[in-house]
């Protein structure tokens, strides 16, 4: 193993990877199912609300005043209407949404997404009923990769760090990044409450900087080890 002496500390990089992982995780949870009262309670901690506010995430006035039970009920209906149907809805699946994609449920894109999980050593856990290219599964995948990346930084395993960063970059390039922004825009157009548009904004904003951030992080491996870092970047540029 090469000795890594980063300009930014490993701890710092590990920490930011954890943050990214958690943000992916939060978004995965939000788009996975309708929020429970407990989830809303946890969401409304002062720290998180401040953080949301700083990030420009606005849940609307009702979120501050209405009882959680009412909000949960409204959002359950909203979630169903937006993402499940029955009837017209915005299917949260890559194969259905991808521009010029197959347009069908469990299309060829879904298989590619599943292959990407498998190639990275993952698969959908039983008895999860989500289809592999559901938005929340894709986000969950990135959350796990970022979490493992954090560990790799902490363990100063640069080969593994680089690999995990490459996987994230490749997955965003080939999958999530290709459809999420368009999907988020549609969610904004169709929502009745501010909740999902707020998270759609958050997802879009966050994702838009992800690839540059990943390249930057890879280059930080490079800063410590020109040889290794250069190769990693080369892989991405290819």
């Amino acid at each position: 193993m090469h000795d890594v002496t980063p300009t930014i500390g490993h701890d710092e990089l590990a920490k930011s990877a954890i943050e990214r992982s958690r943000l992916y995780g939060l978004l995965a949870t939000v788009f996975r199912r309708e929020p429970s009262v407990e989830f809303l309670c946890r969401l409304k901690t002062p720290e998180l609300m401040v953080a949301f506010s700083v990030a420009g995430v606005d849940f609307g006035d009702d979120f501050g005043t209405d009882p959680f039970a009412d909000i949960a009920e409204d959002l359950a209906i909203e979630y169903t209407r937006l993402f499940l149907g029955p009837g017209k809805h915005i299917s949260p699946h890559e194969s259905v949404q991808l521009k010029r994609g197959s347009g069908i449920l469990w299309g060829s894109e879904t298989s590619e997404v599943r292959q990407a999980y498998r190639a990275a050593g993952f698969d959908i856990g039983e008895p999860e009923t989500k289809i592999p290219d559901h938005l929340s599964v894709e986000l969950d995948f990135l959350s796990i990769l970022a979490r493992e990346e954090a560990q790799a930084w902490a363990e100063q395993d640069q080969g593994r760090t680089a690999k995990l960063l490459q996987l994230q970059h490749s997955f965003i390039t080939r999958h999530l990044g290709k459809w999420a922004a368009r999907f988020c825009a549609r969610v904004k157009e169709e929502s009745e409450f501010a909740f999902y548009p707020a998270f759609a904004d958050l997802l879009r904003g966050f994702l838009s900087g992800e690839k540059a951030d990943i390249v930057n992080r890879l280059s930080l491996i490079g800063a410590n080890d020109q040889q290794a870092g250069g190769d990693h970047l080369k892989t991405i540029n290819e």
Binding site: T80, G103, L105, W106, E189
Partner: protein, 844 residues
Amino acid sequence: MLNRRNFLQVGAAVPLSVLAGEALVRRVSAGPVIGGKDFSPDTGKERQAIPSACWQCVTRCPNISYVEDGRLVKIEGQPKSIRTNGVMCSKGQGGVGQFSDPDRILYPMRRVGKRGEGKWKRVSWDEALGEIATRMKKLRDAGTPEKVMFHYGRMKASHSKLIKSLFLANYGTGTIGNHTSICEAAKWTAQEMTWGGHYDNWDFDHANYVLNFGSNVLESHTNHIPTSHRLIARLTEKRIRMVTFDIRLSNTAAKSSEWVPVKPGTDRAVILAMCNVVMNEDLYKGDGEAFLKFVKVSTGRKASIADKVVALKAHLTGYTPEWAEKISGVPAGKIRTIARDVATVKPACIITYRGAVSHHHGADTERAAQMLASITGNIDRPGSRCKAVGAKWKYPKGPKKKPKTRKLKILDGLPGAAKMPTHHVSHQVLKMIKDGSAGRPEIYMWYCYTPVYANGEVQENIDILKDEKLIPFSVCVDPFYDESAALADIILPDTPYTERWGWEDMVSPTQVPEYYIRQPAVKPLGECRDFADVCIDLADRMGFPLGVKNHEDFVKASCEMTSAVKAAGGFEYMKANGVYHDPKVKPRYYSYMKVLKPDAYQKPGIVMDPATGVYWNWKKAKVASEEEALKKGYTHTKKAYKAYVGQEIDGVVYSGFKPDKLNKSGYLELYSEIVEAKGLPAMPSWTPAPEHEAMKSGDLILTTFKVAAQIHSRSANCKYLTEISYDNPAWINPVTAAARGIADGDAIKVKSEFGEIETTARVTPAIVPGAVAISHHCGHWEYGRYASGKKAPSGRNEPDSDRIWWTSNGTHPNWIIGNRADPISGQLRFMDTVVTLEKAGASA
């Protein structure tokens, strides 16, 4: 000059010694791959091939479903099937769309707005089933299980056994509606009146002549591919003659040797006239005459063949070809020629379907066809219409003790609707609920059925289903959001057939039974669950376990219990092969001629009914004693047909034509005292439709039909199919069109007493004047993007919405078709509606 011969001479001169020793290409299998294997065009990897079965239409062809990376990519025919020989229709191939429909329902839903408002909330299965079980249990505990009405559309074989025979029977409701009355009930009732158990297999493999009344067998049929591919082979390879009577030049008519246009609803007149010709020209002599031994054409049972001939001639005397010409528009000469052909070219297969029977007294049209087939000797012999043969599965029967079922008397239509509705009048169930005089269900649950769209009088169906006073609680079991699901209180997401188990038993065209199974090509998507599994769950929740774990277990147990299948290797064999037939079994013909051994009918409990000559088991019929059985008689004992043993004819006891649903004798009854007792003609007769008699000048008759690439109401969500068949202009003859100033492509209004629809005109000589024909599979206003043209919300659409290039999704004719019933069988008279036609915008 060098030519090809010169080159070949070089080849001839090459000695083996000059060839390299080892070939580069080697054979790796016995022959070319003709099915059962498929490869990914991208990776070249072999796809997983799963033997399964189609469920697009009731034919339920065995299929092979190909899966690549968990994705159902392709469905093709099962080459090992003796029913299909590996052939599959477009609908079957398009079934991949059931799996991949982006508008599928993946989770249980509960409505949260007003009924029909379209506001829903996802609920867990536990919550949905908890509520349903609580409501159902309450009704059961109160001694009123009949207040749960279950209404199904397509439910066959193992699904029917699990859901109906196990779950509903053990729950205790008999308020079970079906959809046979909108399909072919008239045919079935007529067959039960004449030769017993329903379903006629058409043995095209051996037919030398086919006479068709109103069947579009090459595009759609209850045994579509198994029969149609044989018919095509026979027509093309043996060049046999086929004559099709139809109001429209269907593709079947077009591929026939001759299309004979006929006025709507008048096939019976033509058939009766053909019978007249056959009898009067002594064309019955030979096979027909011999067959008369097994036929009843008058009262009593002692008539000689000569008596029978006299009776038939007497009955048919007025039904001359000239008489029929006036009614049907078919020239008398043509009727005579075809009658002579069908009587003399042996064997002839006389076939009928909805075009002929979906009318007033449609059951009598089928009886008339039975008459023509009988007197020409074309019954149950190779090449004719035969008694159906299907697989006989054994299966777990569930708890031994079942409650006595109770039912609301709402299944057989409005009072006086039909005199012999042996398959119910389910299209009038909603009217009966509205009427309320026979009680109303508290829970109305429907499965694989769309009461709104499939029946006539669509607006009334909507109004009733929406009314919470009439139907307090409704449950829809459906993988898709169709027009009826939109009006439910709870939607349980069923699996499409691509994700479920089942064993199947559909009729075999070879007269040899074929056993086959359906297995899931892929795991159910989302939280979809096979409704058979859901029923097992519901039974557990209500405290009456059915003794089976799930549908897969049921299929497995059935494979082990059914001796033929078990001997072949049971469940494992079926999973690997999908289909099984015993190669030693001979095709079954002439089953009625089987002579019973004395020990079959000379045993305690069995008596001969002197009035009919029927041997029957009075003990099985639950009669107290032999004296009582003899006194009451077979005909007048409730459900005595279930105790039928055989039929005595001229001192010999035959299997005969075993009755079903009616206490008929073992004769093929062209004369039916049972029918006569209901105030209906004892023999097939001409009875015109009252509304046709009352038609005014300018009135037309609306008929409907099916197209090759769609089934009636469950395939328009399959994108490949709807891309082929997305519109359904109204066919009208140029004469009809000219009289109204209508040109091809004009927007038109079609009006009946039930309402009006707007569509476009397809002006074509391929339909008789005086009729309008509109296919029925279009005009969806729900059922997802492909079927309805409704796109997902927001300005920017999803790619597969943007690809919908067709701009019309057609018009549903059922808005203007009445839910009327054939007064005999109760069949919905789809082809009888009187309409007027005008150019849209022509009237204020």
